[in-house]
């Protein structure tokens, strides 16, 4: 039987348990006490690579802008978990590298993750493990926050994945040729930040931010629509 209250409770409890376990894993370590949650994640992300990585790679991995990464890195560098290095061949490129302290934190982190999956494998039987992780993957895939047309920058081309709005708005957009699979280009944003001028199927159309935020898109490498 469908019991939404109970399901929510279980879901919430599970997320909390994982958090608790993570916290416990570091309880006896003096490491990471001085880092915030986001700062820890920068260290982990960097830890995934063997070699020093340029700023923009990490920013992209974490889906944050380079400028917000810069301020994060400043703080983490102060606490001596990582350091900035300059590329030998091109001095303009700044790369990030973990320090001894950072590497140690990363080690504990991977240990924690290994323990977590090990624990799940102990509790569930092999069939259940497969089912559980497949289900998780499916949820993660469709629950990630998608890019919408209002987040595009002028000049960017994107492919429409789906249109969330319903009823007459969606019908009107579709009649004007704005369909799933159609490529659009954001041309201009009005001086006060709204509405947006987009190019679609050879015509120029103005839509409001409200409508644009209902259009899910994925960025395209192309320059022309």
């Amino acid at each position: 039987m469908y019991q939404p209250d109970k399901y929510n409770q279980w879901l919430f409890n599970f997320i909390n348990r994982v958090h608790e376990i993570e916290e416990k894993a570091f309880e006896n370590e003096l490491l990471a006490k001085d880092l915030t949650y986001t700062e820890i994640h920068v260290v982990y992300e960097l830890g995934k690579y063997e070699a020093p990585q340029p700023m923009n790679v990490i920013a992209q991995d974490l889906q944050i802008t380079q400028s917000s990464l810069t301020s994060l890195v400043n703080r983490i560098e102060e606490k001596k978990y990582l350091k900035r290095t300059r590329d030998e061949s091109d001095r303009r490129i700044v790369s990030l590298e973990l320090t001894e302290r950072g590497n140690k934190l990363n080690y504990w982190h991977t240990q924690f993750h290994k323990n977590l999956t090990k624990k799940i494998r102990e509790i569930l039987n092999p069939g259940e493990v497969d089912l559980f992780f497949n289900t998780l993957q499916k949820l993660n895939h469709s629950m990630s926050i998608p890019l919408t047309a209002d987040q595009l920058k002028p000049g960017q081309v994107a492919r429409i994945e789906s249109i969330r709005s319903d009823g007459s708005t969606k019908t009107r957009l579709m009649e004007m040729g704005v369909l799933s699979g159609t490529k659009i280009k954001l041309l201009k944003i009005a001086p006060l930040g709204d509405p947006f001028e987009i190019q679609v199927r050879g015509s120029l159309v103005s839509i409001r931010k409200q409508e644009a935020s209902q259009i899910e898109v994925s960025l395209s490498e192309e320059v022309y629509v």
Binding site: T169, T171, M174, E175, G177, A190, R201
Partner: protein
């Protein structure tokens, strides 16, 4: 006789094709019951056949979400009593924008009416290196295609010749795009049932079936008078679709576009890297963050400059002409009731409308020019965010702007606003903008009561006062719009999806014809009502006659001015003025102003001439010193009363023509009456506040 309907997307050049086909033989009317323009024209073919062309409203689709689309659909299905079903449709298609324009073409074809494609703007497509295989296009669609450049009349003759041949029946009307198999099956089941019950002919059964499956309570189900069992079956089908999460119309739209994409892959060859077009280059400047608004406000400044300075010369000429005309008639025709009625009622009434014609012509000229170039949509784009603050959209901006000259073109311009709530809100607040008819009243009262004290930066107190009155009007518009969108027209902000057409060189011929048509409509609509109202007002202020009193005054040697003043006082208008005195007393107004208010109910500027009569000043206008002095001498008329009166004029709805036009555009007396009520209430309260608070302070 052959009847042709002309259809097409907005900006397809449909109007140009219409003009090229019919020349000057055009007739503009309204479809009964709605404010959708019905434009008809005709031409004679080489063989002498009379071909009537009906210009359908420009639409993106036929799915009947807006009144325009509804009308187009009804006409094409032969459902309208006032319009005969056309023999064929000429659909104007922009060759430079085939994909989107073919969408409507497919829909039109599905109605079962034979269609012919007028493939317009071939020159622009060519300039963009697009190669269109016309034969292939015609074959794939199963429809004849006539390529043309309507602006230079290329291909128009070919189209005329084709229409003359009347080879309409051979046109293949089978729907070629396909829905998903289960939906196809559903369609054919419903259409079979329709045919079995003898409700529709077999060739259009698919069109009707899909129309019925698109929405619940489809207007088509009433048209067909569906029997109960079929209605039940349909409801079942619709419920099942809803349960499965299938939007039938969305499936249709996708299927149509997919089919178009498919056929265009063989029909259209265009460079893989589309070049940056002229339009994009111009938009870089005109929609620029800084330059865009700057240019926009510059254009508005020029517009206002032209309306308020250039137009004054012809206005003076008209004024003098009508004055001269009255004098001539008075000199030639012996004194009689009819002569007075003609001179003061008819000539005066017509004159008070015609005097605004130069301003209105200029206003329409600019608006038509901006529309024809494609800038108007950009203005809406630039202003949208600002208008959204009060719950309106960029489309409301131009109607409101026009209202600064006159509310009538402003209200008429509201037709372009699709959303009903937005349209009505804009119409109801438009008369609050300071129109040019208020200016004579302002000029008289400011001239008489506001001393010309210089202020800082070369400004003077009268100038600042005038600016303040304009500002007050604007605040009124913003406030009222905001309140209406929160109360009677509450509802979510409608989606504003607006096409920004490519820029085009304006064609003087098109602009002038447009301007002429709209001005004609203004004169006809406003003229008739103003004329009748000014006759009524003339009667009110001339009757009852009191020959005894008149004779007595004349014998006593009173001047003609004193006589007419006394006559006005005892007329019906004067009695009404006295009757309403208790009501307007709290605003500081006496019965004399009361008469002025009654008289200026038809048109505000009448206030000036009425005051002149009451104060026994001959031949006075708002600039006249003697009238100003007379007003100043009146001890009842303090500067505070003048202020209260000015504020009253800012908000009050004293314009019969506006009321008439709102009645026309909303198709009911409810809204114009509501407008009068709310504006009068607003004016009353505002003037009351000014006078009462002012009395306490000074």
């Amino acid at each position: 006789m052959i009847r042709i309907a002309l259809a097409g997307n907005p900006n397809s050049g449909k109007t140009t094709v219409f003009n090229a086909l019919t020349g000057s033989q055009q007739k503009i009317a309204n479809y009964g019951g709605v404010t959708v323009e019905k434009k008809e024209g005709a031409f004679k073919s080489k063989k002498g056949k009379n071909i009537i062309v009906l210009d359908l409203p420009g639409t993106y689709s036929l799915d009947a979400t807006s009144p325009d689309e509804q009308i187009a659909q009804e006409v094409l299905l032969g459902l309208r009593k006032d319009t005969e079903k056309p023999h064929a449709i000429v659909v104007v298609v922009d060759a430079d924008n085939l994909e989107r324009h073919l969408y409507l073409t497919l829909q039109l074809k599905e109605t079962g009416t034979p269609i012919i494609i007028a493939l317009n703007m071939m020159d622009i497509a060519q300039r963009h290196n697009k190669k269109i295989n016309i034969e292939e296009l015609s074959n794939k669609l199963g429809v004849p295609v006539v390529p043309m450049v309507a602006r230079s009349e290329l291909g128009i003759q070919a189209l005329k010749d084709f229409l003359e041949e009347e080879k309409f029946t051979s046109i293949d009307i089978q729907r070629k795009w396909k829905l998903s198999p289960p939906l196809e099956e559903l369609c054919s089941r419903v259409s079979q049932k329709l045919v079995l019950k003898n409700l529709v002919a077999e060739e259009v059964s698919d069109f009707y079936a899909r129309g019925l499956l698109r929405t619940k309570n489809s207007p088509l189900s009433q048209v067909l008078k569906l029997p109960e069992d079929l209605q039940k079956y349909l409801t079942q089908c619709l419920n099942q679709l809803a349960w499965q999460g299938i939007h039938f119309s969305e499936e249709e739209i996708s299927a149509r576009y997919q089919w178009i994409e498919k056929i265009l892959s063989t029909v259209l060859h265009h460079p893989s890297e589309s070049q940056i077009t002229w339009t994009e280059k111009i938009d870089k400047v005109l929609l620029h963050k800084v330059a865009g608004p700057f240019i926009f406000f510059g254009l508005i400044a020029i517009l206002f400059q032209s309306i308020f300075t250039w137009a004054t010369y012809p206005m003076d000429v008209i004024d003098t002409t009508f004055g001269w005309l009255s004098v001539q008639v008075e000199n030639i025709v012996p004194s009689s009731f009819l002569r007075d009625l003609f001179v003061e009622g008819v000539i005066g009434g017509v004159g008070s409308v015609i005097i605004f014609l130069p301003q209105i012509l200029l206003l329409f000229f600019f608006i038509c020019l901006l529309e024809d170039t494609g800038y108007m949509a950009r203005a809406a784009f630039l202003m949208d965010r600002l208008m959204a603050r009060v719950g309106l959209s960029g489309k409301s901006f131009i109607p409101l702007l026009s209202s600064f000259a006159c509310a009538i073109p402003g209200v008429m311009a509201c037709r372009t606003i699709e959303n009903k709530r937005d349209r009505f809100t804009t119409m109801l607040v438009a008369p609050l903008t300071t129109c040019s008819a208020r200016l004579p009243v302002y000029a008289l009262l400011i001239g008489a009561f506001v001393p010309a004290i210089p202020l800082a930066f070369g400004l003077t107190l009268p100038g600042v006062t005038l600016f303040g009155l304009y500002l007050l009007g604007i605040i009124g518009v913003i406030g009222a719009a905001w309140v209406f969108r929160k109360t009677i027209f509450r509802g979510e902000a409608p989606p504003v999806i607006l096409e920004l057409p490519t820029y085009k060189m304006p064609q003087l011929k098109v602009v002038l014809r447009n301007m002429w048509n709209r001005s004609k409509m203004f004169v006809r609509r406003a003229g008739t009502i103003i004329l009748s109202m000014s006759i009524v007002l003339w009667l009110l202020s001339s009757f009852p006659k009191n020959p005894e009193l008149e004779n007595k005054l004349v014998l006593e040697g009173a001047s003609p001015q004193v006589v007419s003043s006394n006559m006005l006082e005892q007329s019906y208008a004067g009695r009404i003025g006295k009757f309403i005195e208790p009501v307007i007393k709290p605003l500081g107004f006496d019965w004399k102003i009361g008469i002025g208010l009654v008289a200026s109910f038809a048109a505000r500027e009448v206030f000036v001439s009425t005051m002149a009569t009451i104060y026994q000043v001959e031949g006075a206008d708002e600039e006249s010193l003697s009238l100003r002095e007379s007003l100043q001498r009146d001890t009842n008329l303090t500067p505070l009363v003048a202020m209260s009166l000015l504020v009253f004029y800012v908000f009050a709805c004293q314009c019969m023509s506006t009321i008439a036009i709102v009645r026309r555009e909303t198709n009911s007396w409810r809204w114009p009456l509501f407008m009068v009520a709310y504006m009068t209430a607003l004016a009353y309260v505002a003037a009351l506040l000014v006078y009462q608070v002012g009395s306490i302070l000074f």
